[in-house]
Symmetry: C3
Subunit: 372 residues, 3 copies
């Protein structure tokens, strides 16, 4: 049970974190100011609610989701919060300088903190793959790297491919999963053994992980509709996310019972596969106009995710030498890819939509187009 | 500690759940469409908030409330979510075909998902009585049966007795408690022994149960005012539910300390009796126009519930051969009956209200009537 | 493990609590009525949201925050709820008679319940200092005393010093911390020994405490902006609270790693020091008009709080004979004092603000003044 931390951690972590924080304070001092345009109180409160939902997902949901490992239940929750706030500040400055920089000042809006929180969630998703492999210093160095990479990718997408904010943000699942797995792959070279016994789960931490899952499950519709402006698209996003989550819950539970020799339900499957529907439906949730498609997506995502949880760890651990502790690959990456493919297919079909109404009856479809 | 699951569970549960889910997807494909009327964004957001509160109560509150049993803490949380989503989909279709069926399509609104979630909560309330007796397959079969029974009862009430939505929904406590107890009675014939040691509580799961209790306690006013439209009735519902919950908390804690030989507080009493006030005030919360009546209701409900928790288990377990694991009878059934009686008495008194203002001073009362 | 409760507790606690509750019901019967002015539904819902956030902080946040002690994890959560509801009812009546008493009736508004909940939180803050020293009867007697003292102080401040509601409420941290420490000091005379082993922490309860911390962390901006009316001040309060909390999280984690010989992170530091930023920024959060000042405040508060957690317990326990179980002194009292000093300095500077714009560039500042 001896600490595996290198002795230099005691010196380096506080130095790095406090230096980073001091830099943040200096940059905030010289280059930022609050948004002082007088919006009415109602808009403020509504933005605040949406921002609060995202923060609940990031701090409570993602924090507790990773707490199921026996030895890392405490640190995962505490580390998550630390990495979240570092990531939010960095993303806020980065987004500000890349997008909202005018008159020598970055104007900070409530919406920009919300966007920064969503960007910083990429770090928390990646954290699942490297839990127990990296120490806090390595993680604190990873935060600015990953947030910079993600923000740059989003800026390139927006400027040069003119992808809108919502679709842009939905790359987060695939991006973070592969980023996390790459980092885990690099780190596992250095720490090749001794991590085998670390990913056992325990009952009480598993309930905490379920708490995180339930927070994410409840507030996922808020996440998927956060960057949509049109009320109809927003409504569709809420509906479709809910349906996809519901069906992936049923699928994950069934497949888990089916795979167990005694018909019992595996905790790890539930923690992750339940959320696969929300990931898969993310990119296209505002385009889908009737529930069955979201449900099919949730079904396939639940299936992929559960099957992945059953089969992939063996392959990953022994063949690739990779160790995906919290199942990031089959929770976020594979359903995210499924969602991306669906999005492209839907967009392609939508071009010929006025002629051929496959996804909704014609009258309905016309009405929808007219009221937008 | 060997599994008591029959060997067929492994085959049957996934088959039943996936078949049900496939049927849902087919029905949703042919018969449903989203509501595409363009409401303004504010109404959408407000409905979404109310829907979110109910989902938090169902997924987080009811899920963790039942987690206090030592051997079932994990399964209760995971099963709750599974049963909830099955129930919501079934209730949505059922309500749709019974109420909103027009032009060959069921139109799905955010409000109808909220209503379906509230209907599906009946399954979670019943779950408390049969925790540890039924396996997941039996529970998955119970879901459509109970939801159908509850929805049919609501439809009959609305069509033939013209009871409004709010009063209708408040039957949920009594209905679910007796439904659950009946199922528990039938099942206990088949599993007569060995369940004695199952309902021991542990400290850590007990804190999870308290988490569920606190979620329910905090969001209960949202549940009781969810189906009311008049702002004044809604305000009264919030006030009265809060007061009744507050007083039943004080009563439950006091009675629990009083009943214990050393003056200690029994966890089980607190988990359940604290909520009795919210149950009792449910049906009449919009009619009561001053706090004292809600407080008296909360006091009596807390008293009944605590006394029930102290005395009834002995009676139930040994005389009736029934085993009410989570105290559904004295948490939901008895306070629910008290609430029903109060509702009837209040309605009877309200008929002669213009003459006799017993519950509020006359001037106040007149004002209230005039501004409605 | 024998109970230290005096035998009289069994008789006294229920008697005192039920008598208090009966008195409440009588006073509510004769002297209160609901607010029946017909506000529109939107205002009601928004007030209800703010009220709900404060209740989540009080019931879930404060309840679980104190649950990290091994022997008191259960009782702290259950006692918190009991004390909260007693405190809310008492504060409601007291505020009503001191402020809203007209025509022989106290008119109860949703806002007054929210204010009462915030007053009752003073008891929960003090509870942290006396956890494990006082029994439930002593705590139930303390509730009316502390709430009366706090409400009277607020009334005197408002009437004679004309301090506004927001600044008034922000005295809560310092007031409650010193109140709690005084009570702990008096009680520790009577129970001089045997409390040494009581404040050990355990892993699973520590996760519950983290849950409480995260709830408080997430909803703290709601608390700090709850009593502000101007949209711009409200926005500033949300921004500044968030920044201060973020920076104090980074500082607390770094200092904790720095102080530990192996660079590990101390749970107790995180639980409390993370919140120090929110306490410190409370009084002046609506006055600060650019983020760097809030960040510096969060930094200093995190530093004070972590250093206090490291050094003060030794001093407190052995020199003063005081036993501050949950670190109330360095979480609430010291950062609260820091916040008070900042508030006074800012007010003094603001008088000469039109001439000298130190905290914001001139144009900005003018704009802000003009749009208020």
């Amino acid at each position: 049970m001896g600490s595996k931390y290198p002795p230099s951690l005691q010196v380096c972590l506080p130095r790095w974190a406090l230096m980073l924080e001091a830099t943040f304070i200096f940059i905030f001092f010289f280059y930022t100011s609050y948004d002082t345009s007088s919006k009415n109180q109602k808009t403020l409160r509504e933005t605040y609610r949406a921002f609060q939902d995202v923060t609940v997902m990031a701090a409570l949901g993602m924090g507790f989701l990773a707490s199921s490992l026996r030895r890392y239940s405490w640190s995962s929750v505490a580390f998550s919060l630390f990495l979240l706030v570092l990531g939010v500040q960095w993303a806020l400055l980065l987004d500000g300088f890349l997008e909202n920089f005018s008159n020598g000042k970055v104007v900070i809006r409530l919406l920009s903190i919300q966007l920064a929180t969503m960007s910083a969630m990429s770090v928390l998703i990646s954290l699942g793959a490297i839990q127990g492999k990296a120490n806090l210093l390595q993680l604190a160095v990873m935060v600015p790297l990953e947030v910079t990479a993600f923000s740059t990718m989003r800026m390139v997408n927006r400027r040069f491919l003119s992808i809108d904010d919502h679709a842009n943000m939905m790359h987060i699942y695939v991006f973070s999963a592969y980023f996390g797995l790459t980092v885990a792959y690099c780190l596992s070279r250095r720490l090749p053994s001794g991590t085998q016994e670390k990913d056992r789960t325990a009952t009480s931490p598993s309930l905490f992980a379920m708490l995180g899952t339930l927070f994410l499950w409840t507030f996922w519709p808020s996440f998927n509709c956060a960057l949509l402006n049109d009320p109809n698209e927003r409504k569709n996003a809420i509906f479709n996310t809910y349906y996809a989550l519901a069906v992936s819950t049923v699928t994950a539970t069934s497949v888990s019972a089916w795979a167990h020799p005694k018909g019992k339900i595996n905790m790890t499957h539930i923690h992750n596969a339940v959320l696969a529907g929300g990931v898969a439906v993310g990119a296209s949730c505002h385009l889908i106009s009737s529930p069955w498609l979201a449900m099919v997506l949730g079904f396939v995502a639940g299936l992929i995710s559960s099957a992945g949880a059953e089969c992939l760890p063996v392959c990953f651990n022994q063949v690739l030498g990779l160790h995906d502790t919290c199942g990031v690959y089959y929770t976020f990456s594979l359903p995210g890819l499924l969602g991306g493919i669906t999005y492209i297919v839907l967009l392609t079909l939508q071009i010929s939509w006025t002629k051929n109404s496959m996804f909704a009856p014609k009258s309905q479809n016309m009405e929808r187009t007219s009221c937008n």
